[in-house]
């Protein structure tokens, strides 16, 4: 197969530049089946999708001015899962392949370096991998509907394009905003990641959000903000950064009616200043909901995209050699990239599958890695009436998780907890 190469999309540019020896920006989607996973069949399924998803099976290469992605000739072999999710992908590994296909007992997981795709693209790939695996293993016919595609057909052009270049406004908007309170803790020396999963009934979660007349994402962000505020009150040295802000990644595919398998999302920060007074739960919910609604209108999103794209198109920046550009991006990222939110809540929504696959699938999970400077993150996905809230942390202290899940219980949601404690 002839090697193809792709420029990094606008959102992907930052990730290779800011990666460290023991940290980089990775996320994971996984599916738990009803039967044990056969690794050989899984590897065959992955191989079958190689030509259909050229932007997923890629490796990271270094150019003189920019990094770029190059297709690989062989799909990565399925390997046994680790004791914790999202172990860092070193530069050496990224030069071979930017994704990892893992299995453990009934679970199939795919971990992506974020320059390849975002959560939506990752989930679409996992669905196709699962469909192909079930076709090979169980001999079922999965129709090409929804996000399931025919592995024999050629990739559509819209799937491989960088949609950020197409939807920017004429003028960018400022990125300036207040810094947020920084969560801290004692890090694990070996990059161990604790993962605590809270499983709640989706129906009750939606009911609770609708009681406050807000969306599930806004409601969860409000509860998380309350937990972070309590954490800040307990912190003996909270520092000057006082704003409680939650970062919400927004999928732009629906906003702009475009579809791509590459990154196409933007993060917005929503929150409040606790020094202005006390807020009730209802007030925080409304605040979160209205801020999220106001920030995610297409015009503002297009403005934010334009700011990023204009910078990328600047002739001066393009002419600067990659090592210098990398240092500059690192500096900007350390000064402003991660300081505007306390943690992420990434809500994938409800996963849907073709009817033929449903009896074989028990559960979906979605986990985003911790950021370099803040140790907690949260991701949410729903499947068949159950919502999995995955909270990951790189520190020993589990106080934020305790506060968050206790608040959910206090508000009347039954929460079932799973964890990978060492």
């Amino acid at each position: 197969m002839r090697k193809q190469w792709y420029r990094l999309d606008n959102a992907a540019l930052i990730f290779p530049a800011v990666m460290r020896k023991n940290w980089n920006n990775v996320f994971r989607v996984s599916v738990t089946l009803r039967d044990k996973v056969d690794p050989e069949t899984l590897s065959r399924a992955a191989e079958d999708l190689l030509a259909r998803f050229p932007t997923i099976y890629v490796r990271l290469r270094t150019g003189f001015f920019w990094y770029y992605l190059e297709t690989v000739n062989k799909a990565p072999k399925a390997e046994e899962d680790y004791a914790w999710p999202l172990t860092p992908m070193s530069r050496r590994k990224l030069k071979k392949c930017c994704i990892r296909i893992l299995y453990y007992q009934n679970r199939i997981a795919v971990e992506f370096f974020h320059s390849v795709t975002d959560g939506h693209g990752g989930m679409a790939f996992l669905k196709n991998l699962t469909a192909r695996y079930l076709t090979l293993k169980e001999d079922i016919a999965v129709p090409a509907e929804g996000e399931i595609v025919d592995p024999a057909e050629a990739p559509r052009r819209e799937e491989t394009r960088d949609c950020f270049q197409l939807c920017g406004a004429k003028k960018g908007i400022s990125r300036a905003e207040e810094n947020a309170y920084r969560l801290r803790g004692n890090p694990e020396e070996d990059s161990f990641r604790y993962i605590v999963t809270g499983i709640v009934p989706t129906e009750k979660l939606v009911e609770k959000a609708h009681e406050q007349k807000v969306t599930v994402t806004a409601w969860l962000a409000a509860v998380m903000a309350e937990a972070v505020q309590k954490r800040r009150e307990e912190d003996p040295h909270p520092g000057r950064r006082r704003h409680i802000k939650i970062t919400i990644p927004v999928d732009l595919r629906r906003t702009f009616g475009m579809n791509t398998m590459r990154n196409f999302s933007l993060a917005v920060n929503i929150g409040f200043d606790p020094l202005l007074g006390e807020y009730s739960h209802g007030e925080i919910c409304r605040l979160m909901y209205h801020q999220l609604a106001a920030e995610t209108i297409p015009q503002r999103m297009a403005g934010r995209v334009a700011t990023n794209v204009n910078l990328q198109r600047s002739l001066l920046l393009r002419l600067v050699p990659l090592p210098l550009k990398t240092q500059a991006m690192r500096l900007v990222y350390s000064l402003s990239g991660e300081s505007k939110g306390c943690l992420n809540i990434s809500n994938m929504g409800t996963v849907t599958l073709p009817e033929a696959m449903v009896p074989y699938v028990e559960r979906f999970d979605f986990v985003i890695g911790v950021q370099y400077s803040y140790p907690n993150n949260c991701s949410v996905v729903s499947w068949q009436g159950k919502t999995c809230i995955n909270m990951i942390r790189g520190i020993r202290d589990s106080e934020l998780e305790r506060l968050f899940f206790s608040l959910l219980v206090e508000k009347g949601l039954p929460v079932e907890i799973e964890s990978n404690r060492r």
């Binding site: 899962d81 004791a83 172990t87 605590v196 899940f405 206790s406 907890i417």
Partner: protein
């Protein structure tokens, strides 16, 4: 099975609540192992060897040493003394301290490595001064090297360790850099007898103007906002 403190439902066999670490009174027999086995594997990622950087450091060391040694041998054989090869050998040693030494440590610590770099530079200049029979080291080379070291260390410390009031400090540093050009010209005057304050006045005025602009901006929110918009950090 529920945690009595958090109220969350726990996995069967859990020994304690993963949130508050409250012990479960009656865990199921063989519980913790069973839970760990079921949810996550025992596979631990292997630490990657960092051979690349040591290999590069070794290669650079060999190249520098080869250059220094070949010059020394050539001079000793042909002239009977180190002569000019001393400059080359010490120059290579200086390059090694600057480029290779930091690579051998897991983290680059500027407050340790930068003073060491400047101390080695001063030593190298002292050697040149002594070899050429000049008397410019104490009155010119040493103070100028020390001045540049102070400015560099102040700048690095500001960028790495100070979060609040960075703009104000940066403005003062820019003004100090401007004034240090006058000091350099002063050292030049007392060492080489050149006229006082000719070229440095242009530098001082330029740097002071920029510094004053930054200083004023640090007090005026609208100007600070404009700077932040234009330079977004």
């Amino acid at each position: 099975m529920y945690c009595v403190y958090c109220g969350v439902k726990l996995q069967d066999g859990a020994e304690e609540c993963p949130l508050c670490h409250t012990a479960v009174a009656l865990p199921l027999r063989d519980g913790p192992q069973a839970v760990k086995q079921e949810a996550w594997s025992d596979r631990v990622p292997r630490a990657e060897k960092q051979s690349g950087k040591y290999l590069a450091a070794g290669l650079v060391t060999v190249i520098l040493a080869a250059a220094a040694l070949s010059c020394l041998i050539f001079c000793l054989k042909s002239l009977g003394e180190a002569a000019w090869s001393g400059y080359v050998a010490l120059g290579m040693a200086l390059l090694w301290v600057w480029l290779v030494l930091p690579v051998l440590f897991p983290r680059w610590r500027p407050m340790i490595f930068l003073p060491l770099d400047f101390a080695c530079l001063a030593g190298y200049l002292l050697y040149i001064c002594a070899k050429t029979g000049g008397n410019w080291f104490l009155s010119f080379a040493f103070p100028v090297t020390a001045l540049i070291a102070i400015v560099t260390l102040a700048g690095v410390a500001m960028m790495r360790y100070i979060v609040q009031g960075r703009l104000r400090l940066m403005s003062l540093l820019v003004i100090f850099i401007g004034l240090s050009f006058m000091l350099i010209e002063f050292f030049q005057h007392i060492t080489f007898g050149t006229p006082m304050f000719v070229w440095s006045l242009y530098c001082v005025s330029g740097f002071c103007l920029i510094g004053l602009f930054l200083l004023v901006s640090s007090f005026v929110p609208s100007m600070r906002g404009w700077l932040r918009r234009k330079f977004f950090f």
